[in-house]
């Protein structure tokens, strides 16, 4: 090995580092460190002039090692490695000392900060001496993309990727594409009919030759790495042979079981049916089909694909052993009671996660009466009440099937609430305004109250929509609702619901009698988000939505290369933002497919043959089964392509035979010695 000639560069990062750490002092200190040929400071090391300093020194001073003390390596390690490379130095002869995120930003005392910066720097200078030249490997990319989630974000991502004429697998857990948007009546602020703009996209996705729609399916296992993932998809048994089914729907109309609360109608089907006290008693209970579905069903009329599924838990044949009416009625003979779940394995290069969200269940907020008082609805339930294909055919009716005279819309239910979710759900203000408008459109004389904390109308055309609603005779009351009660004190409250609220603008507690209450519930991560997080080894932020690589600069990437997130699975999001993210994620996938190869970090593990004793401790430790045993030599070896570079085998190897490029024992030892060198 040539004698190390190290250049040290300390960054001010404007005032981010320089205002806390005494940069000139650190530079002077660095000059005195062994092997350091040059130490310099710069206002912005990451800027072009900053990088040029490094390049120039490599060429002119013959540097063979570079250390930059600046921000986190997660931020700019790549930048500086590229700079070294362009000056002809192997990029792995570079080491970064993090003196911003882990020193200047977290320390108040300037002397202490400067001392710590020096310590961290010594660690880096010590370590870089032991660095080896490493070479990035390129592997081909499988030109197919997996999109998980068939809501508007997933559909958009699939269509965009398919537009590049590469294969897309679109996996949806429900029997139909569409997600939450398919349930909506209108969309804010333009009042576009949701179905009119969504269903064409659903059909396009289903008919696109480059998109394979896997409905009623779930991703159960993902292995491999960027560019080369192997994915196992479980197709849930629908008991309908999709090749034979014509989608005529006779089975659905003939199914004798009709009382199952429909998932698609949100919670509407869970309410008991209202029986007027003076209704004539005919012995037989009135048939209750409100918000209900049969046991063989498609979620909604425009379902794509239009193939029914049998809900095994509620099907009479499976619960009682008798029935099979659908089978008798099905002319093409598509019903197949013997169908089983089956698993398909596919190869993809990229994965776009667009699993969306679910809405908060307000039942625990007892003061709001949801679940106890039938006329308290969630936003999604009201969406179905408003919808012309919903159980009331778009008529706004109370539980007793009367036209409401006053409706309360309660904002921030479960959002901005320390007891539930601290985050703002972003869409509730706007959909609440939309409801107010729809109510006013359908029931001119109905009074509408919006109970809000703050109005957050931030998007394009949103504030204008709010202004419009202010003109539409909607009552805006600033205050958090304390209680919704079904018992009234005053005569005008009798038989109605009473909203008790502190009107913080009028500075008084008010009691407002209404006939219907809509709770604008928070958005929270989807039901199986946590499960999928583990399947894909993603991270979550503190609100439990998926964590993006960088909140501003890499909002659709995740910590894992080749896995992207789009839509509300990353955080509460409206339709325009979800669609935009889906496009961004698709662009990333297409970019990689177009490139054709991915570069694999060379920081993998390897085994020094001469030192391996063949003890096999490492073999079961590897989560990727990358370590095998060479029976002939009676030692272990590592399959480079499978190794992802965690180093667990290296940490466990008793003889030191297993090592990790870029993180080997020598390097870490020197770093430990470095950070502890000062007395």
């Amino acid at each position: 090995m040539k004698n190390p000639v190290i250049g040290v560069y300390v960054c001010h990062c404007g005032s981010n580092i320089g205002s806390v750490v005494n940069v000139p002092e650190v530079v002077e200190f660095a000059k005195g460190l062994p092997n350091v040929a040059v130490a310099r400071e710069h206002k912005y090391m990451c800027s072009d002039p900053g990088q040029d300093v490094i390049k120039k020194d490599i060429k002119e001073l013959g540097l063979n090692r570079v250390v930059v003390a600046s921000c986190s390596p997660l931020m700019h390690e790549h930048t500086f490695r590229k700079a070294c490379e362009s000056a002809g130095l192997n990029p792995y002869y570079f080491q970064m000392a993090n003196i911003r995120e882990q020193v200047s930003w977290v320390t108040t005392d300037k002397v202490r900060a400067t001392e710590k910066a020096k310590v961290v720097l010594v660690g880096a200078v010590n370590r870089v001496v032991e660095h080896d030249p490493l070479f990035v490997k390129s592997v081909p990319v499988t030109p197919a993309t997996l999109v998980i989630g068939g809501g508007v974000a997933g559909i958009e991502a699939a269509l965009q990727v398919a537009a590049s004429h590469t294969q897309v697998h679109l996996v949806e857990k429900e029997p139909s594409l569409g997600g939450h948007m398919a349930r909506f009546d209108k969309t804010f602020p333009t009042l576009d009919c949701a179905a009119c703009i969504l269903t064409p996209k659903m059909v396009q996705a289903n008919t696109n030759p480059f998109i394979k729609v896997h409905a009623y399916s779930e991703v159960i296992e993902v292995s491999g790495y960027v560019g080369n993932f192997t994915v196992k998809i479980r197709h849930k048994a629908s008991y309908v042979n999709n090749d034979k089914c014509t989608g005529c729907g006779v089975c659905i109309t003939k199914c004798p079981e009709r009382g199952i609360p429909a998932e698609f109608e949100s919670g509407l089907g869970n309410r008991p049916v209202y029986v007027a006290p003076d209704a004539p008693q005919h012995g037989k209970k009135p048939k209750d089909t409100f918000g209900k579905r049969p046991a063989i069903y498609t979620p909604f009329a425009q379902a794509v694909p239009n193939k029914p599924v049998i809900d095994r838990d509620n099907c009479r044949y499976y619960t009682t052993g008798k029935c099979r009416v659908c089978e008798k009625m099905c002319e093409p003979g598509a019903i197949d009671f013997d169908q089983k779940d089956w698993i398909e394995e596919i190869q993809v290069g990229n994965i776009i996660v667009a699993t969306g969200m679910k809405t908060f269940d307000p039942t625990p907020m007892k003061n709001l009466g949801y679940g106890r008082i039938p006329d308290v609805y969630t936003g999604l339930e009201f969406e179905r009440i408003c919808h012309s294909s919903g159980p009331t055919e778009g008529q706004i009716l109370t539980w007793k099937k009367e036209s409401p005279k006053a409706i309360a819309i309660v904002h921030c239910v479960g959002s901005r609430d320390d007891k539930h979710h601290r985050h703002c759900s972003r869409v509730c203000c706007m959909y609440s305004l939309k409801y107010a408008h729809l109510i006013k459109e359908k029931l001119h004389n109905c009074e509408v109250y919006e109970f809000y904390i703050d109005m957050r109308c931030f998007g394009k055309g949103y504030e204008e929509f709010y202004s419009r609603l202010l003109q539409e005779d909607v009552r805006f009351v600033r205050g958090r609702v304390a209680e919704v009660s079904d018992w009234g004190i005053y005569p005008e409250e009798k038989g109605r619901l009473v909203v008790r609220v502190e009107d913080t603008l009028a500075a008084q507690v008010r009691r407002i009698p209404v006939d219907m209450v809509i709770l604008s519930t928070a958005l929270e991560p989807a039901e199986n988000a946590d499960h999928l997080k583990h399947t894909l080894h993603m991270s979550c932020s503190s609100d439990l939505f998926y964590l993006e690589r960088h909140p501003k600069l890499a909002p659709v990437s995740t910590a894992t290369d080749g896995i992207y997130i789009a839509g509300a699975c990353q955080g509460p999001k409206d339709i325009p933002d979800s669609v935009a993210q889906a496009g961004a994620a698709a662009a990333q996938a297409i970019g990689m497919i177009k490139r054709g190869v991915v570069e694999i970090e060379p920081t993998t593990a390897h085994i020094e043959e001469s030192m391996c004793t063949g003890c096999q401790i490492c073999i079961p430790l590897c989560p990727y089964t990358a370590i095998r045993r060479n029976e002939e030599k009676r030692i272990a070896y590592i399959e480079g392509a499978l190794c992802k570079g965690c180093g667990t085998c290296v940490g466990a190897c008793p003889s030191g035979a297993a090592q990790q490029w870029g993180f080997d024992d020598r390097q870490i030892y020197r770093e430990i010695e470095g950070v502890l060198a000062a007395k």
């Binding site: 907020m365 007892k366 003061n367 106890r372 209680e483 079904d486 018992w487 004190i489």
Partner: protein, 289 residues
């Protein structure tokens, strides 16, 4: 037989005498032993906590210190919701706030006492519902209170903030009512303040609160309101006439302690029902023989 350290508090020997009598009677049937805390003092409840915080915790802690010495490991049980809350609050604060703990410890020390924080403070209702259990209550019922419509009034202090029941929609009392064969009525005011602590300082406001509770029970068709607290009972019962006078209403709703209701179902005496101001109507009178 479960034994508990019983903290009666001041109301039980005055306005809550009927509570004390019925509790004693019913406890025998339920097979629970309430060992009264010897030399107990005021729980420090109501305004004291807001006026002299350390002192109020100190006198409350004195009771806990005595309880720890007299019945180590036994739960401290209070029947009055205010006592329950006061003792429970001190017990929790001492664990949570080391500074307060230091001050209280030195106060106890001056009186030759110490408290390790080993005890749990519980309300008698919780003991009946959770330790004895609803099945046992149902089994001990010798006369089902069939047809009796009961408004279960939990009040504010028992369920907030350390409630063992839902603080907005309490259900335990209703379950107990069902266990003895009576019918709970929907009662929106179940966990609202009775106005108790304001009756002396802001009578108008307090009477209005009392009125709303009575009105809600009347609207629901209740024959009786049951309570778990001597303060609530006194407010709702003794001030009914004043409410009627102030609002032109004509309430006559008997206010019983839940222990009295249990006593009626177990057919045991004495229960002190005759001590109530509002006299039982026919629906309730059937069961008082």
């Amino acid at each position: 037989m479960n034994t508990y350290t019983y903290y009666p508090g001041c109301s039980m020997s005055a306005t809550g005498k009927a509570y004390a009598e019925s509790l004693e009677t019913v406890a025998k049937v339920l097979d629970i032993r309430l060992a009264e805390l010897d030399d107990w003092n005021c729980c420090g409840a109501t305004a004291y906590f807001s006026v002299r915080e350390t002192l109020s915790h100190a006198i409350s802690a004195r009771n806990l210190a005595l309880a720890e010495a007299q019945g180590p490991g036994r739960d401290v049980v209070a029947a009055c919701s205010a006592c329950y809350l006061g003792l429970n609050k001190t017990n929790k604060y001492l664990k949570e706030f080391p500074e307060l703990r230091k001050r209280v410890d030195s106060a106890l020390d001056a009186g030759g006492l110490k408290y390790d924080g080993s005890l749990e403070v519980r309300h008698i209702l919780e003991v009946v519902v959770k330790d004895v259990g609803l099945e046992k209550v149902a089994a001990l019922t010798t006369r089902k209170l069939e047809g009796l419509k009961v408004a279960s009034y939990a009040g504010c202090q028992m369920v907030r903030p350390y409630g063992f029941d839902d603080s907005e929609c309490p259900v335990l009392l209703d379950n107990l009512v069902r266990a003895v064969g009576a019918t709970p009525v929907p009662f929106a005011m179940a966990a609202r303040c009775c106005g108790g602590s304001q009756m002396m300082t802001n009578e108008d406001a307090a009477l209005r609160m009392t009125k709303n509770i009575l009105l809600c029970a009347q609207d629901a068709g209740a024959d009786v309101i049951i309570t778990t607290c001597p303060l609530c009972q006194m407010n709702l019962d003794a001030f009914q006439a004043k409410v009627n006078h102030a609002f032109g209403t004509s309430f006559n709703i008997p206010i019983l302690f839940f222990t009295q209701l249990l006593g009626l179902a177990f057919q045991v005496k004495p229960l002190g029902i005759e001590r109530g101001v509002a006299k039982p109507g026919p629906a309730l009178a059937r069961f008082i023989s």
